[in-house]
Point group: C2
Chain length 868, copies 2
């Protein structure tokens, strides 16, 4: 009898070495982990513990195996231990299996996580002439011979380390099992000079030692070296059940639910009269599991019952191995099934419905990227593709179209209904209108936060950036790789989720939030504390954001509103007019005012009274200025000036480091009229909405602040401009004023800034650039080196650099709150949609994060998960 | 008798109002300040307290005057108070002055610091017919009439507020004093309808009230409003002495030492038979004080004695007013003399020699900028100048020459012996060689830390930057202002200490450290704790630095070594060769190695065993690449490539924000060969010096570090490269390894970086750019606004921003030292030479600062002063 007491956990040193027996009686799997008994051992213990039909066996735990490997445990001791364990196993197995012959054994490696290079399972161990005779006597001679001709070659190869080739010659004409067994015996004799006649116990011990030897095989060593976690090896010895016994026997694998779609139906394959690897050998074609329903309704019912119990006991969708012997079902191995993102969400939600798990557990199991993945159009998986190049996956979703090299070309052809792929070395502000109209964007330079990437993500347009293998020659309208050339009008397809670029057209299937995802996100919303806002610049984006579950707009970048043709011309004239020409600027701003007001009315109406945070004009003025000869010419005409003069003036405004130049609130200091116009537009828009009975909640956000005296001046300007409009209109509008914390100095002086404002918005794009000294437009040259060498664990523009930038954010939050307990704090950088960043925001007690609309579902989920 | 007890300090409220009497007996000036008795009152009290010959008098202190102004003190009370004080004064004055008539009085305003718009001193107050008669009786009728004709118009104007014009008509023919007095009486009668006949006491009280009224005159009010300190008014009433009494009488002003040169000789002017303002009236030409020596040796001796006593008592060079009456010398006012920087240093040192003050006091009195000012050539003060424009004073000293617009032109013509003024919109790395050869540099853009400013300061070449009124057209080789045009070869002169640009040639006088400055700096060296290092890139700069007192090189920027023709070509080829062409890079680096080694040998030898901190290559690679068509062509030839290809490759390397781009140690990660070559050159140079018995102390400095894993990698690279060289050469060289802290993230992670290095070098130029988000190359557009509006109290690139950048530096020092108690910390930004920055460095316990050679003397002084 195997010991029924739960064996002392092998980790507790000092206790005598022992094996861990399991089945047929329940054992308590509770205290065991993969580090003690390996993953296969654990799955058997857990199934046995749940009373599932597992053939009895025992595990040599990791601690014991380690002592054997270290030669701290002698072979005589091992022989004694195994002899007793096998005797106990035999006692348990015979009644459990209802067997009329001594059991055979399988010997399997059970590493703490899957590892290549280990010995494959050794089956039918313990088969001797005595057992053969007994089986023949029961008219099962063929079955016995089949087992023997499986055992001998495997034993020779793995236990004796002989070359497998002599056994592999396929005899012609085909043999009977008996002939086959005879041939194996003969070959074994010729290779070893001995008959195949070891005792069952000797076979088991030899197989165990062979399993241990494989731990040090070259492949296993290399794989262990590469692994970043410590691994251990256990060995499982288990009584055999035989899928090859008769026509009521079979072996197979099954998924307890569909791993692609999550549908609540078993999937898998099986093969009658087969054993072990036959299923994958390619000699016999396995049957789809679904056919069992017709072919063997009783077995199917057993399987259904089994998958239900498995899921109930293990709480997760399972990928399990089974064997049917003479119509009786046994489970040999199980593990949590790998599944697609869609399937994972559906399964988690349905497991909650089935009462298997709680909603919190469903949230815990669903990685936020899974929700995001489901949202974007995908390439049809069943189409042949020809990979052309690989860039960075800048904005998820698949898309494609005919190549266009300029913004103009894109707009013209897209408006004629063509699907367009905009191809640029890099995009710039002037491309924004075209970017909104194309199907997908591809650039050869730039990183995950380049202009193209940021804008595309915001718009939800699929985008691949930094595909550096591509040579883009916009002037000659050619895109080339070393061996291929494409011209404008050729068709390409990209996958913005993987960064891949393909030739030609590939069918695209639409992505959408499944109803299960909606339910999951509702549970998430109940759990989370962080508010999730959207970065949205237009009413369209705002509507999209709301449909994704945004609770407000955390960042509306007003500069994007100025890139429309009519406005851009005005902005350009304003920038180029003389510094002293205040009247000229006023005139232009008066033209822009009604358009801005309309923008804000649209946003306010879309958000229906939720917070709309509007950031005043931020970018370096140079971004608005034209570069192409045509644009220069028309601007010169507008200004009544020569192209040379205009070019010279633009040249004067060019900055060496525009990131750190004349931008943000610095523009307000030199041109306060712009601030006044924007505040006027915001307040008038708010008043308009109030007049029509629609609630509004504007928040005005000041960019690039770095000093307390500076902020004091700005807040005064904003408040007095707003006050003037309200007095004129006779309305009272509640609004907040906040400051971006995107310059390190602002974070350092947070305690002085906080009393002047209602909220802090951490702009972690710029903050990361300045704290790390990395220009996101220029980092493609070296950031890859930094990621490859492990200096950076992740792109700091995609995942917040908690050690550096995060430290500063945390300091600023603490000091800001100390100085102004009502201060609201949020994060609006690109990282705001990423799960580990959100966990950090939760940890330091931010009030909200603001990310691009398509990232909102993932953010909602992430914000809930970090509360579990 | 006036009260001899020191009057209770008027600040102590509650006590009855009282006047403060002084002379002829000593009073204790100790408890009084300018806030109690005004600056004139205090100077009289202090002289009287020292027993110097001051006519007796009393002060109406600020507190009393304030009560009078506030009408909290009635006129009857005032009359009682003054009546008693005047009576006491009379008792004291008559014996002291040896007078045979009742004293007259002067009534003077004594504000707490000089203020325009107050009543001028009112002299001869108290003159009545009775006194007139008595003087006439003593044959002093003319003197008496002179006094009366001075009193009446002044009394009418200031006490009665009458217009002064009626008195100003010059009578023809000239009158006798008697006629003059009669005329004044007549005019007074006609203006007031009364004879001039107030009693002496009434005159004094009226004069006091007039003095108080002037506190609220429009000019005084405006000046008080503009003043940033609280001001108060006291009034002094003093017995008159008469420089107009006879031919043995005179009045004058004197400096106790020469205020321009500091020479230990009195300077000043005097006028015999004169009173008060006669000295400045222009009617009589005053005599140089030196003429008194011949004209009146006895008086001169009195004066000499007096200046000695004054300096001894007041401990400072004095600017004093005196009156000689009948051969007797009286002092009427004294104050610390304004003096030139040179004079200030010489005087301070000689006062120590004279035993008047201690060395520490001399240090306290000498502003560090004074030492610096003396070092640079200056424009001859006696030449007419025509100001053309004004820019920023980027590198002190005067210089001038013929205009050259390109580096090539400068080098060619300078090598022919011409004095050249290099004129550029802005300079760039490729101009460095030319900058070293020209006499002065002028740019139209850039700020105090633009390339031109930094490099010029390092070289000690006079430089004016950001002279934005100038339009520089290098292509047409023209420099123009709105009304003038200059071409190449025209002569201009600049003053880098003031930022002024002049037409033509102006004689320039050389500047040098006077011997007194050397002695002062020796005292400073004994006092200071901070070590002063130099930023020096060449042996010439190193020698200059040592002559200025540097204790080592804190920063050698190796990039400057590469800008020589031969090396630049190699560097350019290296940058442009394919990323994978490691062999090609190695070949070029092998060519550069012997040159670098020679550079370092030169530095080590110049510094004779002092620390030489060598920073590995730092700037963005783009700085090395050519722009001019000629250079592009020759580079293309070198590379065997077309100009188009080279231009395209350069374009690919261009960065949007080079400051935050691929530079510093990031180059080491992508091209470790450069680091290896530089370390090899350093170690080989050190070994060479050791071999010849010369001590060396190299320190290797890693630029742009931002991460601990990055630093670990770099330190390993440096140490293993150095180890390899030492093993090969069989030497052992002690060297330090340090990291720049110039990226905010490095400061935030200081605790992790410190254990890996020997020292931190705070690069506050870059740190300021990143912490404040201000590119120093682009800030001219808005930094001026920030300074003007007071948001920034000073240019953060010239004076460390203690609140922001300083906070981060302090944090990093604390965390660094906690993790590595042996860590040395220094600051090597441009601010390191500025006094308040040095005081901050002292406060936070840095070990050294490193500045450009010419700033070292000032830095030595500043480092001492902050220890006093």
């Amino acid at each position: 009898m195997p010991s029924r007491r739960p064996a002392a956990r092998p980790r507790a040193t000092g206790l005598p070495p022992s094996v861990v027996a399991f089945a047929p009686l329940k054992v308590d799997a509770g205290p065991w982990t993969v580090d003690d008994v390996g993953w296969k051992g654990l799955s058997l213990l857990r199934m046995a513990s749940a009373g599932l039909p597992v053939p009895p066996g025992f595990v040599l735990p990791v601690s014991l195996c380690q002592r054997l490997l270290d030669r701290q445990f002698g072979s005589a001791d091992l022989a004694r231990l195994i002899s007793r364990a096998v005797a106990d196993l035999d006692c348990a197995a015979v009644p459990f299996l209802g067997s009329d012959h001594p059991p055979l054994y399988s010997v399997r490696c059970s590493p703490s996580s899957p590892l290549p290079g280990l010995m494959p399972p050794l089956l039918n161990v313990g088969l001797t002439d005595a057992v053969m005779d007994q089986l023949k006597h029961q008219d099962e001679g063929d079955f016995a011979c089949d087992c023997l001709s499986r055992l001998i070659p495997a034993y020779a190869e793995h236990v004796l380390s002989l070359a497998p080739q002599p056994f592999e010659a396929v005899p012609v004409p085909p043999e009977s099992p008996r002939q086959s067994a005879e041939r194996c015996r003969r070959i074994y004799l010729s290779l070893t000079g001995q008959e195949f006649a070891p005792s069952p116990l000797a076979q088991v011990i030899s197989a165990i030692l062979a399993a241990l030897r494989s731990w040090d095989s070259p492949r296993a060593r290399l794989a262990r070296k590469r692994s970043d976690t410590a691994l251990g090896l256990a060995v499982v010895v288990q009584a055999m059940v035989f899928g090859n016994r008769d026509s009521h026997s079979a072996t197979g694998i099954a998924f307890s639910r569909d791993p692609s779609t999550g549908q609540n139906e078993m999937r898998g394959e099986y093969l009658p009269i087969a054993q072990g690897r036959d299923l994958f050998s390619g000699v016999h074609r396995p049957l789809p599991l679904a056919t069992m329903r017709q072919r063997s309704p009783r077995m199917w019912a057993c399987m259904e019952e089994m998958r239900r119990r498995l899921e109930k006991e293990l709480g997760e969708v399972q990928d399990f191995e089974f064997t049917i012997e003479k119509g009786r079902l046994y489970l040999l191995q199980t593990r949590t099934a790998r599944r697609s993102a869609t399937a994972a969400i559906r399964i988690a939600v349905e497991l909650v419905d089935d009462g298997v798990i709680l909603a919190d557990e469903a949230l815990r199991r669903t990685d936020p990227t899974m929700v995001e993945a489901g949202l974007h159009p995908m390439l049809d998986a069943n189409t042949l593709r020809r990979l052309l190049a690989k860039g960075l996956p800048a904005s998820p979703g698949a898309g494609g179209g005919r190549i266009a090299f300029t913004a103009q070309e894109t707009i013209t052809r897209a408006s004629q209904g063509e699907r367009i792929l905009l191809v640029r070395q890099e995009t710039e502000a002037a491309d924004v209108a075209a970017m909104a109209q194309c199907d997908a964007i591809l650039t050869s330079t730039g990183g995950m936060t380049s202009h193209a990437a940021v804008v595309a993500r915001g718009m939800g347009v699929p985008c691949v950036v930094g595909a550096s293998e591509l040579n883009i020659d916009a002037q000659r309208r050619r895109l080339s790789t070393p061996d291929r050339v494409f011209v404008a009008g050729d068709f390409l397809t990209i996958d913005g989720g993987t960064g891949e670029v393909y030739e030609g057209t590939i069918p695209i299937v639409p992505g959408e939030l499944a109803s299960e995802a909606f339910r999951l996100l509702q549970w998430a919303d109940r759990r989370r504390r962080l508010r999730i806002y959207a970065n949205a610049d237009t009413p369209t984006e705002a509507c999209l954001a709301r449909s994704m579950g945004a609770q407000g707009i955390g960042l509306c970048r007003t500069e994007h509103m100025f890139f429309q043709d009519q406005r851009l011309a005005g902005i350009r004239r304003m920038i180029l007019c003389e510094a002293a020409d205040v009247a000229g600027r006023h005139r232009i701003l008066e033209e822009l005012l009604p358009m801005q007001r309309q923008d804000f009315i649209g946003l306010f109406e879309s958000m229906e009274g939720q917070t709309v945070t509007i950031r005043l004009l931020d970018p370096p003025v140079h971004e608005f200025l034209p570069r192409s000869p045509g644009d220069l010419k028309s601007l010169a005409r507008d200004l009544g000036s020569s192209v040379e003069e205009v070019t010279q003036r633009i040249e004067q405004l060019r900055e060496t480091n525009p990131m750190l130049g004349h931008r943000g609130c610095r523009l307000c200091l030199t041109m306060p009229e712009i601030l006044e116009m924007q505040v006027q537009a915001i307040v008038e828009a708010g008043a308009y909405c109030l007049h029509w009975g629609r609630p509004v909640r504007p928040a005005i956000l000041l960019p690039m602040v770095m000093d307390d005296r500076e902020l004091a001046w700005l807040v005064t300007q904003v408040r007095s401009a707003a006050e003037a409009v309200m007095r004129r209109l006779g309305v009272r509008l509640e609004y907040d004023v906040g400051t971006m914390i995107e310059v390190p100095r602002a974070a350092l002086l947070a305690g002085r800034l906080a009393p002047m404002v209602d909220f802090f918005s951490f702009g972690t794009n710029d903050l990361t650039q300045m704290v790390c000294g990395i220009s996101r437009d220029d980092c493609q040259g070296f950031l890859a080196d930094y990621l490859r060498s492990g200096i950076f664990p992740a792109d700091p523009f995609a995942r917040l650099d908690v050690e550096g930038v995060g430290q500063l954010v945390q300091m600023a939050v603490e000091q800001g709150r100390a100085a102004n307990p009502k201060l609201q704090c949020g994060l609006c950088g690109e990282q705001a949609g990423e799960a580990s960043t959100i966990a950090f925001c939760e940890k330091i007690g931010l009030d909200y994060v603001s990310c691009s609309p398509y990232r909102i579902p993932a953010a909602r989920l992430a914000a809930a998960r970090c509360r579990l």
